[in-house]
Amino acid sequence: MTLLRQYLRAILSARKLLITTFLLCFGLMIYLPFLMIAFRSVGKGWFGRLWLPPELTLEWYRWAIEVTNIVDITKNTLIIAVLAVTMATLVGIPSGWAFGRRKIPGKELLMSMILLPRMIPPIAYALGVAQVFYRLHLINTHFGVALAHVAVCAPYAILVLSATFEGLDERVLEAASVCGANPVRTFFHVILPLILPGILSSMIFTFTTSYNEFTLTLMTYGKDTTTLPVRTYLAIGEGYWEVTSAMSIILVIPSIIVLFMIQRQVAPEKLVGGFKGV
């Protein structure tokens, strides 16, 4: 009997070990690429079969800042992201309200239509966007690139915001009007505080989307509107792995900070969701 119990316990602990190993491998698989980039970006003379770079240097960061003009590029990226977030939110609030609070004939159909840009490969309509923008002289302007980003950001904002508006409790609004608040007052004092978290999360998600967007930027960027992802791509093409690594670290840090910052406020799982009931 004791033998059996010991045997069972051994299996149980082996299970635990297995689970721990699995999680460890998973963590390593996700984080090691970044660690490798980080070491590459500060290493010097790292050739052959060495586990770690023999010499450390910040030279590649200096290169990244001086040669690839990363300050201007970061500025471009941020301007474009802010423009795209603003536009997507301005589109998302009214449409989200209509989808969330109103009875619309054919709502399902309309919603899946709005979500269509997320189902067609981006490169397919990026081609059209590029041609239209060439005609309208929107190529190589911050506004133009941001507008192209709105094509992918707006469906997302509409989806998140319509869920927010849908979750608004009718009784709270009634209570406000019973207490004598006029619609304007109701909006600013009751509705806005309630939907603010939704707006915030929509803004965060559209920001990340725009910050990371590559395909549409590649089709609409120019000399003056190069963004960080595009510059990284060009740097990879140029073949300077060390400088590219330094740039990547600069590019990746804000995303990770944002992720760890927002994890308590909004469910970050929503970042990858996006379709209800497909």
Binding site: F47, Q131, V150, I256, L259, P268, L271, V272
Partner: protein, 283 residues
Amino acid sequence: MLKRGSKARSALFTLLMLLPGLAGFFGLFFYPMMVTVVRSFRPEGELVGWTGEHYVKFLSEPRARDVIVLTFVLSISATLCSILFSVVLCLVLRRKPRGHRFFRLTMLIPRVVPGLIGALGLLLLLGSRGWVNLFLIQFIPLVEEPIRFNYTIPGLILFYTWLYFPFTAVTTLSTLESLDPAIEEAADVAGANRWQVLRHVVIPLIMPGILAGSVLTFMAAFGAFSIPLIAGGNYRPLSVEIYKQINFTPARWSAASARAMIMAALQVAFLTFYMRILRRPSA
């Protein structure tokens, strides 16, 4: 009369509120898409005339079949790998092992950082001087030479899985967590062992969640562009093939558009097929 007036006004108001969304959809998606459609039927470099030659020319190339097959092989195998990996991961995370909050966040990392950076990191990690090969050479007795992962099809599938599994994992996890524990307890009481509970109760119940998530993974993998562009080497799926056409001087917009239309049509066709499987009541 008054009531009908206010009703009409309210409908008008709703329409007005929908307008920005619709304008965005038609201006930024539908119209460009139509431009692509029209362009794909124009003779190269001209803005008038109609021709179907770009479709015929591309589809009659023997390489076209390879490109299309490659695109499907990559995206479908990445989807399958993601499903397998996600199910195991979610079953583990569900038991709330130590640090499960951290691993939940870790799961999202590939979706939060730009895909290019992930691909760059994987290229470095799996390269001939990367840590994976160093590890294999030092600790696995049979491996003497570095194994080539980068620029091979298995390597690409690994890259795709790394980048796109979170879609599947997140939906699987949320479905798994909304599962009523009473159902499993019932199966347990009825005398099923752990494996039977998993096989006959848990997996069938979370299947809709898994499939819904895997649709997202498939779509992302099918349309993947930045990853095969930098990590594909000689393997060029449709998206890179399209981009190559406009990188010629002069740019071959019509040829690119025709390929884009073929790609979009294939994706929509496959998704329709997939949705049909999805909607089928599970036996």
